[in-house]
């Protein structure tokens, strides 16, 4: 099938998005501002890593079935997470950005969860049964993530002068990465035609309505259409062109498997 490689790339994109943001969120575990919110963000991390596992397992099956690898060198969810280099990762740039302060972490989560919400909502009806099943499951979890992060955007934006100033700084840091969420990578286009992936341009208006709604309650001004253009500097994550931040994540996440291959604990 002509779109088989595209399907592998797209499945990896879904997996990498969930893994990388899940890993970022896990950096807060034990460091949250209050215990309940530390637990909340750790739970969101757990959901995301769980979703990533299902997508990686599926991608591994697709790769092994396609016979791309040498016989005996079976690809697994672990090898996909721990043994690929930066340019093989297809996550959006937003997911890999540093945690910064609580405001930046919250805003990153909100932008990401809103995009994931509409994406999974559509993917539940994907013609690829496996992607549809994972999305159906994950969608229910993202409802919680979106609600939690929306509430925090409002709480901080409409909070004190300090929390508001921090939200505005976070917005300045992160808005430039939002355009990429709606720019399809080359491998997504044939999948849209097959009814496997979702047309991203159809998600953008819904995402914008959601962000406007929450920003208006939070008293934050909406910056206008999401920034970033196809082939631009801030829109290459899905095709493996990342910011330097991804390298630091991989260095930490992959160190053990690279230094001690196959190590289990």
């Amino acid at each position: 099938m002509a779109y088989q490689q595209a399907l592998i790339d797209f499945t990896l994109q879904l997996a990498d998005n969930a893994l990388i943001l899940g890993h970022r969120n896990s950096e807060w575990t034990g460091h949250g501002p209050v215990l309940e919110q530390d637990i909340a963000l750790s739970n969101i991390a757990l959901d995301l890593v769980g979703q990533a596992r299902y997508f990686y397992q599926y991608a591994a099956r697709l790769i092994n079935r396609s016979g791309q690898e040498a016989p005996g060198a079976d690809i697994t969810e672990d090898s996909l997470a721990y043994l690929r280099d930066g340019w093989d990762f297809r996550n959006c740039l937003l997911a890999e950005q540093t945690n910064g302060d609580w405001a930046k972490t919250i805003l990153r989560q909100f932008f990401f969860s809103a995009a994931q919400y509409y994406l999974y909502e559509g993917l539940r009806y994907s013609k690829d049964a496996e992607l549809a099943a994972i999305s159906e499951k994950a969608f229910k979890e993202v409802i919680y993530h979106l609600r939690w992060s929306s509430e925090w955007v409002i709480r901080l934006g409409d909070g004190t002068a300090e929390s508001r100033a921090r939200m505005e700084t976070a917005l300045g840091d992160l808005w430039k990465f939002t355009g990429e969420l709606f720019i399809p990578a080359a491998y997504e286009e044939p999948l849209v035609l097959e009814g496997i992936a979702v047309e991203l341009s159809s998600l953008q208006p819904k995402w914008e309505v959601k962000v406007r709604e929450i920003f208006s309650e939070a008293g934050l001004s909406y910056p206008g259409a999401p920034a970033g253009k196809k082939g631009g500097l801030l829109a290459g994550g899905k095709e493996g062109r990342h910011t330097e931040q991804l390298g630091y994540i991989l260095a930490e996440m992959q160190f053990l498997q690279r230094a001690y291959p196959g190590c289990e604990w």
């Binding site: 309940e36 637990i39 757990l46 299902y54 979890e141």
Partner: protein, 162 residues
Amino acid sequence: MVDYEKIWSLLEEVNDPEVPVLSILDLGIVRDVKVEEGKVVVVITPTYSGCPAMDVIRMQIKMTLLQQGYESVDIRSILSPAWTTDWMSEKGKDKLRAFGIAAPTPVQQVCHPGLFSREEGIPCPRCQSHHTSLISQFGSTACKALYRCEDCKEPFDYFKCH
């Protein structure tokens, strides 16, 4: 001749490691038990994608059946249709309450889009008061939220609707 009733009764003995008062049947995560070419196949579904209990549950099902003399056991996962708390048995809900965890309400309220809204009528498992409030949507495990009773002042876990 395979004794399905026996297999199901053995599965009743496998508990959720995170909420040990519930069996996996109470939880509603066993989808199917069948036999294929002499192999016992148990089909389960996760509660949440990242639930760390799933690996332990998978192993425990296998151990339980192997110990009872079933020689070949295969545990499969299925994601769709996605698990909901509607599949929890009434017996399971009673066990939860007795254990001090508020049981999921029969009305699905999780998808309520309203921000800062509270699920209503979550009774305190200790004093039965409905005068309770949400502390956090996320609790000690993925499947629970954290509540507080405004009458007896005790915090408690709520097995949230999903």
